[in-house]
């Protein structure tokens, strides 16, 4: 029905960076009303995050005050001073692990998705299904399996080991997103490259990847966030030592008989800031284009 118009819309939209056309500009007053509503929704949604900050500034003896303080009056910066004094190197490790996961996930999932979407491998459908099943395995089972493998290979307590483990969270999802998006890439674009004599690989790198920029950002964002906040794999595979991610840094405050909650929450706050900044910067590009293939019927 509207295939050609849709295809054109998809191409121009992606070329322009994913900013959709709106249904006309409503009057200024209506838009501000929406802003107010948006702020209210966001405030409600982020209230627990505010509470986390509140707890991070609370003294031990006020932790279980009933009713609790809405604002940390008689607050303490003890949590933050400990965190900033001890945890910053772990932020560095987390960053490395996050970036590594992104690179590995992209490297693995993009070519595979291209194949599934455009190259028609025999058994491709089965492969897609297997990737779906792969996501069904509970994380603890994966972690125990990895432990056995890693201990034999001697890569326990290494950053690359953790990157590998964290990528298993993101790769199947990455393939899914890329496949759905790449299926929407018009064949004419690829044929044009082929006529010009490009090999499949060159078509992939020179034509497909640039056009998929939004999916690249989406998959990168998801994999970074999942790796950044991962705790289970880090705990099982990177027990301690100097090179542990920030999520494990929290353990410094969880003793066998005592937990320092203000420091724990302070660690979480400090850990969230870089990721939050990244999020705000990247949100412009996040457009999985998941519908592109679907609208094409």
């Amino acid at each position: 029905m509207a295939t050609t118009t849709v295809t054109r819309a998809v191409t121009t939209r992606t070329a322009r960076g994913g900013r959709p056309r709106t249904t006309g500009t409503p009057p200024a007053a209506k838009r501000w009303w929406r802003t107010v509503l948006g702020v209210v929704f966001t405030a409600v949604m982020l209230f627990p995050v505010y509470w986390m900050v509140n707890v991070s500034l609370t003294r031990d003896q006020d932790m279980r005050k009933s009713p609790p303080n809405l604002i940390p009056i008689d607050g303490t910066l003890h949590g933050y001073s400990t965190v900033l004094g001890q945890q910053l190197p772990f932020l560095g490790t987390s960053l490395v692990v996050g970036l590594g996961t992104v690179v590995l996930t992209l490297a693995l999932s993009a070519p595979a998705a291209y194949s599934l979407a455009k190259l028609g491998p025999r058994g491709g459908g089965a492969m897609s299904f297997v990737l779906l099943i792969a996501q069904m395995i509970p994380a603890i089972i994966m972690a125990m399996g990895f432990y056995t493998i890693y201990v034999q290979l001697g890569i326990l307590d290494t950053i690359w080991g953790l990157v590998l483990a964290d990528s298993t969270i993101a790769v199947p999802f990455g393939v899914l997103i890329f496949t759905a998006f790449m299926r929407g890439i018009p064949d004419e674009l690829l044929n044009a490259a082929r006529i010009d004599g490009a090999s499949t690989w060159r078509t992939f790198t020179a034509v497909v990847m640039p056009v998929s920029r939004n999916s690249v950002v989406t998959v990168s964002l998801f994999s970074f966030l999942w790796a950044w906040s991962d705790f289970l794999f880090a705990n099982t595979l990177d027990g301690g030592g100097a090179a542990k991610p920030i999520t494990l840094g929290i353990y410094a405050y969880i003793g066998n008989n005592n937990q320092e909650w203000n420091s724990i929450m302070a660690t979480a706050v400090v850990a969230s800031i870089p990721a939050a900044v990244l999020l705000v910067l990247a949100q412009r590009y996040v457009a999985a284009g998941v519908t592109a293939g679907a609208v094409k019927d």
Binding site: K65, W160, R213, T236, G241, A243, G255, N257, N258
Partner: protein
């Protein structure tokens, strides 16, 4: 546009590799200690992740290693993870050389076959108090030595008690305790807080009352056990204990006590410094008909896992003995807020700090949870016990029904 993305990704990869290379190098210099020759690296696992290498404990471990002529690589894990990590490592033949674990877990690890007994490792138990050593003795063989012991007592807030007109020394048995709680509630304050959560902590906190009623862990459905559970349930129903005890860990319960609204808080030796700071006092937990209730021992054990190369045991033994005896262990126990495991060392601690008197007495009367040859039956019983306590606390079953179901479940599981 294309080149920019490629350049961006390329830059990221480069940056990541450089940083990873630098940090990865330092992480990989560890090596696999267990298979090294006798004068090399010895691995040491303990449940104190809050102490890093620069802490007093970290330095002490390193020092004992140097004295034994080797380097010790120490890793602190969360105590609830340690059992499984130890089992997984044992399965792969990569057990650490020294494993410091919570005492009720020793029998599980011993049964799994990953621990050496003192006959094999040559570790001396010396004059360690029998009731504290009990958790490490299974079928007549000893599998480790305690680092110290801690236990439970009843902290009280003198201000709250004074305002309610209660004299702490009048709390001698259950009836007088409940009466005191009633008075405190009448004065507008809160009575008692403890941890009744569905984990080992909950069982740990319930045991003084369970044993105080003279109940037996092998008979969860006895009338005496029911009395103990009725006590807790009664307090919650009357409002003497808050509803949150169902979910409280010992730390959370302590924080409630610290807020200053509670008259009593059941908690352990490790809070004694914090208690002193807030001006709280401490009495032993009363038994049902008077006297001090038997309390469970807490605290970790040094164990020596089985290694392929048994020439390592000699050095490992030296490290453990360095850490578990003499001035070293007294210092450690004072830092951890534990009581030392032998009478002489307890005297040494007392001479340094007379406040420990109540605690030394409590530890003297304490019992190991896996003692009385309960061994690996204890985890099964404990799980059913905390389940029954939760059912009664939350009102989903009466104490007698809950305990009967618990005993039934224990019998079923142990039969298999």
């Amino acid at each position: 546009m294309r080149t920019k993305t490629v350049v961006r990704i390329g830059a990221l990869v480069a940056a990541a590799s450089v940083v990873a290379g630098l940090t990865g190098c330092s992480a990989q210099s560890s090596g696999s200690g267990s298979s090294d020759a006798a004068s090399g690296t010895y691995t040491f696992w303990d449940p104190y992740p809050q102490y890093d290498a620069s802490s007093a404990w970290g330095k002490l471990v390193a020092q004992c290693g140097t004295e034994a002529g080797v380097t010790v690589k120490r890793t602190g894990y969360d105590t609830s993870d340690l059992t499984n990590k130890a089992l997984l490592a044992g399965q792969q033949g990569k057990s650490p050389d020294v494993l410091l674990v919570d005492n009720p877990v020793v029998s599980t690890l011993a049964q799994s076959g990953i621990l050496t007994d003192t006959a094999t490792s040559g570790l001396e138990t010396g004059d360690i108090a029998e009731n504290i050593l009990g958790a490490g003795v299974i079928d007549g063989k000893t599998y480790g030595v305690p680092i110290g012991a801690n236990t439970l007592a009843l902290y009280y807030n003198p201000k709250v008690l004074e305002a309610a007109g209660v004299d702490p020394s009048s709390v001698q048995d259950w009836d007088s305790l409940t009466a005191a709680l009633a008075k405190v509630k009448a004065a507008g304050k809160k009575g008692i807080t403890f941890s009744g959560i569905n984990t080992e902590e909950g069982s740990f906190q319930f045991l003084p009352w369970f044993w105080g009623a003279d109940a037996d862990l092998t008979k969860l459905d006895s009338a005496k056990a029911e009395e103990a559970l009725d006590l807790w349930k009664g307090w919650i129903d009357e409002g003497y204990a808050p509803n949150s005890v169902i979910q409280n860990t010992q730390t959370t319960s302590w924080q409630e006590f610290q807020s200053g609204d509670f008259a009593f808080g059941e908690n352990g030796t490790w809070q004694k410094d914090a208690a002193k700071e807030m001006g709280a006092g401490v009495i032993t937990i009363p038994a049902k008909d008077g006297g001090a209730a038997p309390v469970p021992t807490g605290g970790e054990f040094f164990t020596i896992p089985v290694q392929k190369d048994d020439a390592r045991y000699a050095t490992t033994k030296k490290i453990v003995e360095c850490l578990s005896s003499g001035d070293n262990v007294v210092k450690t126990d004072n830092t951890l807020n534990y009581i030392a495991a032998s009478k002489d060392l307890q005297q040494q601690q007392l001479s340094g700090n007379a406040d420990l008197k109540t605690w030394v007495e409590a530890v003297g009367a304490a019992r190991a949870r896996t003692g009385d040859n309960l061994g690996v039956k204890y985890p099964v019983i404990s799980e059913q016990l905390w389940t029954a306590v939760q059912k009664a606390e939350s009102g989903s079953a009466s104490p007698s029904d809950a305990l009967q179901a618990a005993q039934q479940a224990v019998d079923d599981k142990l039969q298999k």
